[in-house]
Subunit: 402 residues, 2 copies
Amino acid sequence: MPDFDLMRKLVLPSNRRIILLVLDGLGGLPRQSDGKTELEAAHTPNLDRIAQAGITGLSNPIGRGITPGSGPAHLALFGYDPIRYEVGRGVLSALGVGFDLEPDDVAARGNFCTVDERGVITDRRAGRIPSEIGVELSKLLDKIEIEGAETFVRPVKEYRFVLVLRSLGLSDRIPDTDPQQVGLRPLPAVAEVPEAQRTADLVNTWIAKAKAALADWRPANMVTLRGFAQDPALPKFPEIFGLKPAAVAVYPMYRGVARLVGMDVIPVEHPISNEFQTVADNWDVYDFFFVHVKYTDSRGEDGDFEAKQAVIEEVDQALPILLDLEPDVLVVTGDHSTPSQLKSHSWHPVPTLVWAPETVRSDAATAFGETECSRGGLGIFPATELMPIALAHAQRLAKYGA
Amino acid sequence: MPDFDLMRKLVLPSNRRIILLVLDGLGGLPRQSDGKTELEAAHTPNLDRIAQAGITGLSNPIGRGITPGSGPAHLALFGYDPIRYEVGRGVLSALGVGFDLEPDDVAARGNFCTVDERGVITDRRAGRIPSEIGVELSKLLDKIEIEGAETFVRPVKEYRFVLVLRSLGLSDRIPDTDPQQVGLRPLPAVAEVPEAQRTADLVNTWIAKAKAALADWRPANMVTLRGFAQDPALPKFPEIFGLKPAAVAVYPMYRGVARLVGMDVIPVEHPISNEFQTVADNWDVYDFFFVHVKYTDSRGEDGDFEAKQAVIEEVDQALPILLDLEPDVLVVTGDHSTPSQLKSHSWHPVPTLVWAPETVRSDAATAFGETECSRGGLGIFPATELMPIALAHAQRLAKYGA
C-alpha cells in the first residue's frame, strides 16, 4: 500500500478530477466456446477506445491467490492495506443493510437457530427460514429494550440479522456466542478485556430477552451472535489524498465502506446511466468520484455469462456520460473477479485501465479484456497502488525530494 | 511471502490435490545458433499442451538479481521468505549428505586444510584432496570420542566434510574457526553468548583430537569449521497450508529441506519415471506432492546444453504418469536457473506454469519456455507466492472478509 504519510506530504491543491469506476466482480474466466471472458465477449466500443488510448494492467486486491470479500476489496481500491485495516464482520454486516453506525456502536452478526428443550442447538440456521420470516422475527427483536444501551435489530437474509448496541464506552472485545456446531448450547457473551465487561453483560441481558421473545416460535427459537465489531476509525481518505470525494453507489454495503473512509455518499438509484448522470450533476462539488456498479457481480454469482456480459455492455453504452465530463483521470476496474463459471468471488486478478489524456503512457492494448490487460503497461500490481497512480496522472502529487 | 496467519485462517479442508514439480535449475539462457534456451529447444509436447491450457509466468526465488542456493530456493517454493527463514550452512550441509539431524544437534561445515610446523595455514583446502581421501579422513575423524557429546563426521566432496555435535542444550552461536586466509592459525571456537560456552569448549576439545588424528597426514593435517547451525525450527508446512504433503526426491539435500518444513519423505530412486510412479503409488495418502528432478541442474552445471535439454525431454515423456492422476493443480517450475552457458546457478527468473483445468484463467502462451513465460498471465512474481496461487486454484482457500 502507499505510504500515507508520504501521500499527505506530496498531495497538491488542484481542481483536476478523478473518476474511479468500479464494476463489481468484473474479472472473469474464459468460456469454452471461444476462450473469451464476459468482458472480452462484451461489445464495448467505448471501453476499448479508452483502453487503447490509456494504459492497462491486472490488479490484485488482497494478494495473489486470495479471494476478497467486498469490504476488504474496496478498502484496497481506496488505497488501504486490507490486512492491516481490517473491518470487523459485525460492522460490514451493519453497513450491508444500510445501518448508520455511530463511533461507539457495537455491531454483531446474528443467526436465528433452533434449540431443544435443554437449550442445546439442533440447527445452527433454524432450517434456513425464508427471508420473510427473518424480517418478521427481526422486527420482534428490534422491540427489545434493555437498561444501559439502545439496541437495534435489522434483518439481513433468511436466518441472518444484525444486532447493534448503542451506548458510550462500549467495547467489541467479545468472542462469538455461536459454538459453531450442533449439540452444544449457545455460549454466553464474555469479556476478553475488563473494558468489555459491561458490554458483555448488556449482550447477555439482550440474549435472555431475545430467547424469551422467540420462545413460542419454531424452528427459530434462539439466536447466536458473531463478529462483534466497532467502527475501526480508519484514517480518512480526504485527509490522506487531499481530495473531496463522493461515493455514487446503489447498494448499502458500498456506501457504508465509502462512509467508513470519510467519503460523502450521494443517494442514487439504478440504472447505471442514472448513476453516471449523478456524477455529472455533482461534477462541480467534488474532485473524486467513486462510482459503483453492482450487477456485474450479481450476474456472475448467478452463473449467467450472457447477463454479466450485458451489464458490461450497459456500462459501455452509458460511458459517454462520464467521458463528456472530460475527467482528468478515469480508472475503470473491479473490486475482484466473479467468473460466472465459478458463481462466486475469485482470486483472479482484475482487469484495470487508467485513462488520462494528458499524462498517460499508453501500451499496446487495443481493447479492454483480461488477456490484453495481462500484457498491459501497468503490469500485475496491488490494487492499493491505484490511488497514487490516479493522483499522479491527475498531476496532484508533488515531486519527492529535490 | 504469504502471510502465514492469513493462510492458517483461510485454508479449507479439502481432498483436492496439488503437485509441485520442480525441475532443478530449469531456467536457461538463449544459445547463439537459434536464440533458444534448453527448455525452448527441448521437444516437450506435454508441457507445451498444459502451458497452453494453463497460465504461465516467471518466478523470482529470492529477489531480482539474487542467485539462490538450493536450500533457500526450495524454501521459497514452499512459501517461506528465504531471507527471513535462514537455514544455517551447517544444517544445509548435513541435510545434503542425508544426515538425520535432531533438534538440539549443532552442525558445521568442515574443511581439511594444511598447516605448517607453527600451526599456520598454508593451504585452506589441503591441495583440494580427491574425494576418496576425504572419505577416508572423515572416517578417521568420525571415530573421535569426546566427553559430554556424541560427534559425527560425514564426508561431503573433496576437502569438505560435515561435523555434527549431539547433546542436549547445545548452542550454535559460535563464529567460524576458518580465518579465511592463509598465513594465520585456525581460530579457536569461541562463544558469542554465555549459553554457547559449553558448546565452544566441546568443539575445541574435538578440534584438538582431530589435529592429533591428522598429525601424520599430508597435505590434510588440520581442519577449520564454518557455519555452525541448528535446526531452525521453521513453522510447519502442513499446519500453515492445511495440507498433507509428501516429498519425492532422489537427492538428500532436497529431502532434508522438505523434512525441515514438516513434509513426509518418500524414498525413491532414479529414473524420473520412477519418481512420477511413486507419486501415483501414494496418490491416496497425500494431497500435496513435491516432486524434485535433479539432473536439469546437474547437466546445466556441466555446461552441457543438449544433455540438459534431454533431461527436460525425459520429464516430458514421463509427464503422462502425473497427468493421468488428474491432479486438481499441477505446478511445473524450477528452484532457480542454471544456464548451461554459465555452468552455475543464476539469478534469472524461472519459467513457471500452473495447470488447473477447473479454475485457471489461461494466457496466450502456446508453449513452455522463458520467452512465452515472460509475457504470461502470472507476470513476474516472487516464488513465495506460488503456494497461495496453487491453493487458490485447488479451491482450498476461503474468502477473506465479507
